[in-house]
């Protein structure tokens, strides 16, 4: 039973993965652009933090590792690629209700499928090439690595709940494009993926650190770079996952009828 369910979702993930790259090898250009982005971001930090020493416990080396990992696991920390907004937008979400599998789990499978090739062609090569970028990404200990993996998994769980909530919001507000633009902007700003929250002025970083968006990126990155208390950060992630999932579930149920009739 479980294996049949997993098999269904594996097939869905595979369809998404191969469909995504099936057009032409040009998709590799996308990854080259991403590598370029990493190089530029690293250079910018070197410029911004030159001769600054340690700022709030963050040295240049720490920030470089932080940024590097944020780029390696960007997809997981942004938690995008489920195609939910498009499905709601064009009404094809109705088809998903007709398949003998959980609706949301189909989106999750699709998202994992989308991640697969990027992980293979971008994340792993980037990790292997880290010495060329002048960063040492080796974890300080196996425990630190284990905590990071755990925190990353929780980050995905929180991200997925937020994805689901935004999906429900699409139906409530009848807007897709704007809403997802806002989601991206808020995530970029508040998750700490682009800029470590510690660099925010007026104590804002401290405040943002308590929000669920920080659980999506800042938490695992701080755990890996040992600039935050793992116990506190993981507990916060667990709390947010426990709070957001039921909310998402309720919203999803309320909106079910609307979801099917929404869109094209």
């Amino acid at each position: 039973m479980i294996s049949a369910t997993l098999n269904k979702h594996y097939k869905t993930a595979l369809m998404e993965a191969t469909g995504h790259i099936g057009d032409s090898p040009l998709f590799l250009l996308d990854y080259m652009l991403r590598i370029l982005r990493v190089i530029i971001l690293m250079s910018l930090w070197q410029m911004i933090l030159a001769n600054k020493g340690s700022v709030d416990g963050l040295t240049l080396e720490t920030v470089l590792v932080y940024t590097f990992l944020a780029e390696v696991f960007r997809q997981q920390m942004e938690c995008r690629g489920s195609g939910m907004e498009t499905a709601i937008w064009d009404g094809s979400i109705a088809n998903r209700f007709l398949r003998p599998a959980g609706v949301f789990s189909q989106f999750v499978a699709q998202m994992f499928g989308r991640w697969f090739f990027e992980f293979l062609f971008f994340s792993i090569p980037l990790l292997l090439l880290s010495p060329l970028f002048g960063v040492s990404i080796l974890p300080s200990s196996p425990v630190a690595l284990g905590l990071f993996v755990m925190s990353l998994a929780l980050a995905i769980a929180v991200g997925l709940a937020i994805e689901l909530i935004f999906g429900a919001m699409v139906v409530l507000t009848s807007t897709v494009y704007i809403l997802y633009q806002i989601r991206d902007a808020v995530t970029t700003l508040l998750s700490g993926a682009l800029l470590p929250l510690a660099f925010y002025p007026w104590g804002l970083g401290e405040v943002f650190g308590w929000l669920p968006f920080a659980s999506m990126a800042s938490a695992p990155l701080r755990i890996y770079t040992e600039t935050g208390d793992p116990g506190h950060l993981i507990l916060l992630q667990v709390i947010w996952a426990a709070v957001l999932w039921p909310i998402a579930h309720v919203l999803w149920r309320i909106n079910r009828e609307k979801l099917v009739s929404h869109g094209g």
């Binding site: 530029i40 807007t175 704007i178 633009q181 902007a185 970029t188 094209g264």
Partner: protein
């Protein structure tokens, strides 16, 4: 009766063709008419209901502010970035927001993200219109009302930083500032068209690549680039022209560049980029004539 009906129809076509013979003045008048009708459609859309109007306006405002907030935070936290003081950084961010705002006001409806129109087979809708393709592309994305949310905050940042920096703008400086803003916007658009035109050959992959390329530019454009290595800077001033979207023209306008002609460098680069973009797009159009589009999606075009 039948013949007279045909004659009337023929006369109508002749009249239409006379109007559409695209002499320079007619071209210009037609462009104005097209912008006007697009402005009208935008207004109609924005005023469908107040909820939509406010949601759209507020969220656009928020998005544009969010795009530069990170760098503003850094400038505040470190009391400037590199050699740039806080007000100078603010000036550059205002400039960047204005460029983005112009793009959103003039090239909405996926004209800026042209890869989507091309990759989704929507160019057909443009090709059945009785005017040159460039005319349609120049006017169909005009959103003066819904796009203005991006322009106003940019202008406010420029105004505030200009006051703090005690800028004393002359007419020629204002002209050069406008020229540079237009040039930066042209570079951004050309860059999007260069990458987006790949959709003529690879419709699906290009939508992602082009979105990544433009996204990269938008992410990096608010950052000051001083202090980067020569190789890095060269790349960011040529293949990935981030430097010309805000950083270099802001330096030139603030007098941080020693070269006397620095204000004209961005417009020159804009001319080069637009020539390349037009050439690639034309090659794509030729290919489109041969292969057409085997894919059609309606999103982002009329809806």
């Amino acid at each position: 009766m039948k013949n007279s009906s045909l004659t009337a129809v023929d006369a109508q076509f002749k009249h239409n063709l006379d109007l559409m013979n695209f002499e320079p003045l007619n071209k210009f008048n037609h462009l104005l008419r097209l912008w006007r009708v697009q402005g009208y459609l935008d207004l109609m859309w924005m005023t469908q209901d107040w909820k939509l109007f406010l949601t759209y306006y507020a969220s656009d405002l928020f998005l544009n502010i969010a795009a530069v907030t990170g760098v503003l935070f850094l400038a505040e936290r470190f009391d400037g970035i590199g050699v740039w003081t806080k007000p100078q950084v603010t000036f550059m961010l205002g400039y960047a927001m204005l460029v983005r705002g112009i793009m959103e006001t003039l090239f909405g409806y996926n004209i800026f993200s042209i890869s989507r129109r091309l990759g989704r087979g929507q160019l057909d809708h443009t090709l059945v219109q009785p005017h040159p393709v460039w005319m349609a592309l120049l006017t169909e994305g005009f959103m003066p009302f819904s796009g203005s949310a991006s322009i106003i905050p940019g202008l406010l940042l420029l105004l505030w930083s200009g006051t703090v920096l005690a800028l004393d703008p002359t007419i020629s400086w204002l002209f050069l500032a406008l020229l540079n803003v237009a040039a930066s916007a042209t570079i951004l658009l050309s860059f999007s068209f260069i990458w987006g035109s790949l959709a003529f050959w690879a419709p699906r992959a290009t939508e992602e690549i082009s979105s990544s390329a433009s996204g990269l530019l938008r992410t990096l454009m608010p950052f000051p680039l001083d202090g980067l290595s020569f190789a890095m800077l060269s790349g960011l001033m040529t293949f990935l022209p981030v430097g010309f979207l805000a950083w270099y023209p802001a330096r030139a306008l603030l007098g941080l560049e020693s070269d006397a002609w620095s204000e004209l460098l961005t417009p020159t680069v804009a001319a080069i980029f637009s020539i390349i973009a037009v050439w690639i797009f034309k090659q794509g159009l030729k290919a489109y004539g041969r292969t057409g589009s085997q894919r059609y999606l309606s999103f982002g075009h009329r809806r």
